[in-house]
């Protein structure tokens, strides 16, 4: 039985990672072939760093992901705190549903409706081009928001409601009570929400495709448009770099998470004493 479950896990890992490993290996290939590995070479990495348009697409994607994840984290956390404090159950349920719509909606509908709205507003104000970096940013914030809210709300529900009250009792202003008592409690939720928002924004194609303005092309759109010819191995090199950056980020975040977990445990033990 144990052996069977091990084989099963191994199979799952194989299916998940075989494509990435192949891409990784062929990013070091000497030729453009995807079937024969003819020799080790850093050629495609050199080509990648010489390709101005791809690099600027990477930069655009990162700028967009960082700003939209930050803004949606701040907005989403504030919204979650507000929603948590609502007394009316009916009102809260209604708000919950409304915030979840961008998440449940197919991307293509979100994308098209956002584009139509931007065009409408742009026409209304008589702008020559209604789509720009800013519309794309707004779109990304829109679809990231519910994920942040969804991560923060459960943390608020888990939190002892007496905590902020105790802080107020001990002389904190409401603002101080939030930053000193509540925020540290819900921080793990906020961080997870932010990371989710960041990754979602990073690899979004459909919504970006509809809301993209001129002069601000993101990486997924650029790769998609390479299909007239074939995707060059530079992209394998880029994917390899992205894979390792994300891997190290994940490792760091997991390691620090573990430290945090340990601290919590010791705290709890002490309080039980």
């Amino acid at each position: 039985m144990k052996r069977a479950s091990r084989i099963y896990t191994a199979l799952i890992l194989l299916f998940l990672f075989a494509p990435i490993v192949i891409l990784l290996v062929f990013s070091f290939n000497e030729t453009k072939s995807l079937s024969v590995f003819s020799g080790f070479s850093m050629k495609w990495y050199r080509e990648l760093f010489r390709d101005r348009d791809t690099l600027s697409a990477v930069r655009n994607t990162l700028v967009l992901a960082v700003i939209s994840s930050l803004v949606s984290t701040v907005m989403g956390t504030a919204a979650a705190v507000g929603m948590h404090k609502l007394r009316s159950k009916w009102y809260r349920a209604a708000l919950d549903t409304v915030t979840n719509i961008p998440m449940i909606n197919p991307d293509i509908i979100t994308g098209i409706s956002l584009m139509l709205m931007f065009v409408f507003v742009g026409r209304f104000f008589g702008l020559a081009t209604s789509l720009s970096f800013w519309t794309m940013l707004l779109a990304h914030i829109t679809f990231c928001l519910p994920y942040v809210i969804l991560q923060v709300l459960p943390k608020l529900r888990q939190m002892d409601p007496a905590l902020p009250e105790a802080a107020r009792d001990l002389g904190c202003t409401p603002l101080q009570a939030f930053f000193k008592a509540e925020l540290p409690e819900i921080l793990p939720g906020i961080i997870t929400g932010m990371i989710m928002a960041f990754t979602l924004s990073l690899d979004d194609f459909v919504i970006s495709y509809f809301t993209q303005g001129n002069g601000f092309q993101t990486l997924p759109i650029r790769i998609y448009s390479m299909t007239k010819k074939t995707v060059t191995p530079k992209m394998y090199a880029l994917a390899t770099i992205i894979f390792f950056v994300i891997l190290t980020l994940l490792l760091i975040s997991n390691l620090t998470d573990q430290d945090d977990g340990d601290k919590h445990k010791t705290k709890k033990v002490k309080s039980e004493d």
Partner: protein, 373 residues
């Protein structure tokens, strides 16, 4: 955890710095170019980055900085959708012939001032006034291409390699690739049957569908750009694509292997296309756009682009360039520029033209049936 949180303001600051630099540098003109992906020489593998070269040339010539925003699209339909939404503004675009005809019809293109494009004289007579732009007011041809058959000589017998029949040859069942879009797929059947590809007669389209249904069980798959890897790896042995793409595939094949040996030939009749540079009506700086088009016709960038894309060039400067012929080699020149009595006559007779809406809907209906079979 807290450390990560402390990084946030630092990151935000970095982002603001990055963004704020977009506007620095004083009076810089911008030119928004919208082209197919991988369709211009971009400096890879020691080629000339023609967009960057234009920026440098312009500054030297006119003493003003220009920044080219270069975006890419993946199909004519994408381009059309973006432009017709009215939400973007591009100065130079590179649509294909049938899309140009449609855009001219819908007043989406501006007439060019050929006074600003003196290099238009390099465009061979054969490529002027084609059906999509009969008075040649809107377009400057960029590339053209001819559809051919690519086959793996290790699998396919040389004697079988002629005409469209190879794609219906039962000996190679499970080894044949067909286009995965209705117009091109029906095209192959219609050229085979000798039917006009621009007909409005439903019976003709029915006949083509029957031919496609007959071919269906022999197919390895219906593909678009997947064809590159499938042909280069030997997964499939017969496919049709543009002549330039054959050379892209050759690049992907390992030299010393004994399973793949790709060859190429033109069936008769076959499909022709022209992609051209145009200025859309949303253009913000028409003169600059015309200067850009003119620059792309001059020798150095035109040769670099032709060498990069592998597609045929309608530019006589490229055709007469000693360096181009030397760089690309004899085989390439023979295949890419096949002897033709008249490109114009072939093109006007066999290129895809816009069909009326009713016929298009009918083709889509027929196509669905081919796909599910």
């Amino acid at each position: 955890m807290k450390k990560i949180f402390a990084m946030v303001p630092a990151l935000a600051l970095a982002v603001v710095l990055l963004l704020s630099c977009a506007g620095c540098g004083g009076k810089t003109l911008t030119l928004n170019v919208y082209n197919w992906g991988e369709y211009i020489s971009d400096g890879s593998e020691d080629s000339l980055n023609t967009v960057k070269a234009f920026e440098e040339w312009y500054q030297k010539e006119y003493g003003q900085k220009v920044r080219v925003n270069y975006d890419t699209f993946s199909s004519n339909e994408d381009l059309y959708a973006k432009l017709s939404s009215g939400a973007v503004s591009y100065d130079v675009i590179f649509p294909s012939d049938y899309m140009i005809a449609r855009m001219v019809n819908e007043n989406m293109l501006l007439p060019l001032d050929y006074g600003n494009i003196p290099n238009f004289e390099y465009i061979t007579e054969d490529f002027r006034n084609l059906y999509y732009d009969p008075q040649n007011q809107f377009t400057v041809p960029y590339t053209y291409g001819v559809v051919g058959v690519i086959y793996n000589a290790k699998v396919v017998d040389e004697n079988d390699a002629n005409g469209w029949d190879l794609l219906w040859n039962e000996n190679y069942s499970g080894n044949i690739l067909q286009f995965n879009n209705p117009r091109d797929a029906f095209g192959t059947a219609m050229y085979k049957l000798g039917i006009d590809v621009n007909t409005n007669d439903k019976a003709d389209w029915d006949a083509a569908q029957a031919e496609l249904l007959r071919q269906r069980p022999l197919l390895k798959g219906m593909v678009m750009d997947e064809i590159y890897n499938m042909m280069a790896s030997g997964e499939a042995a017969i496919g049709t694509y543009y002549a330039g793409d054959y050379f892209t595939m050759l690049d992907m094949v390992d030299e010393d292997n004994d399973i793949v040996d790709l060859r190429f030939y033109y069936p008769e009749p076959t499909n022709y296309y022209v992609d051209a540079m145009c200025i859309p009506s949303c253009c913000q700086n028409k003169e600059l756009a015309e200067i850009f088009i003119n620059y792309m016709l001059s020798e150095e960038p035109a040769v670099a682009n032709a060498e990069f894309t592998y597609y045929a060039s309608p530019n006589s400067v490229v055709l007469n360039s000693q360096q181009y012929a030397e760089d690309m080699g004899e085989d390439f020149m023979e295949i890419i520029y096949p002897p033709m009595d008249s490109f114009r006559n072939n093109y006007q007779a066999y290129a895809y033209q816009n069909l009326d809406a009713e016929t298009l809907a009918y083709i889509n209906e027929l196509w669905e049936k081919v796909k599910i079979n």
